[in-house]
Amino acid sequence: DAGITQSPRHKVTETGTPVTLRCHQTENHRYMYWYRQDPGHGLRLIHYSYGVKDTDKGEVSDGYSVSRSKTEDFLLTLESATSSQTSVYFCAIRSMNTEAFFGQGTRLTVV
């Protein structure tokens, strides 16, 4: 295992509530990513980080924010969850030009 864990693994929340997903790594990789996976769309990049306090937007960043205060932790926050954010969320870690290692995913349902 690549030493990456996501929490929680499953969550059901109500529309309009804030939600935070956590990604934790023990590999000291520089890059960390949050993707969402929906049928027919593969993996779409939400936000990524290239170092502590260094983050950038991906292709589907609206409605999401991230923070990385430590190398090992990358948090994804939905400030006010909407039904369109129901998805499976994957965190990934990577060093430059190497393979990405993925967590097991968080299944989020917004009702």
Binding site: G42, L45, Y48, Y50, F90, E99, A100, Q104, G105
Partner: protein, 111 residues
């Protein structure tokens, strides 16, 4: 619009058949990666191709990188039920800091 287009999106075949899936782009990539994802898990790297025209073999799987480094293919010989899964191609962007994925090919191999 996806930067990486995969085809076909779905493929259902019988055990023993051969198949090819494609990953195409209008952009040049320094490398392309292929991942395989099983239900409830994150994607796992199969191979990275780096040189235009490169062919890599992994048992019954053959990966090819196009001469112009804009496309790649995955060929499976004598498919087995254990090959069932979602196959994703991915390529680096922004000097390698991002990793962008295609939509994936969902392969089902029936016994």
């Amino acid at each position: 619009t996806q930067l990486l287009e995969q085809s076909p999106q779905f493929l259902s075949i019988q055990e023993g058949e051969n198949l090819t899936v494609y990953c195409n782009s209008s952009s040049v990539f320094s490398s392309l990666q292929w991942y395989r994802q099983e239900p409830g898990e994150g994607p796992v790297l199969l191979v990275t191709v780096v040189t235009g025209g490169e062919v890599k073999k992994l048992k019954r799987l053959t990966f090819q990188f196009g001469d112009a480094r804009k496309d790649s293919s995955l060929h499976i010989t004598a498919a087995q039920p254990g090959d069932t899964g979602l196959y994703l191609c991915a390529g680096p962007r922004d000097s390698g800091s991002r990793l962008t994925f295609g939509e994936g090919t969902q392969l089902t191999v029936n016994p």
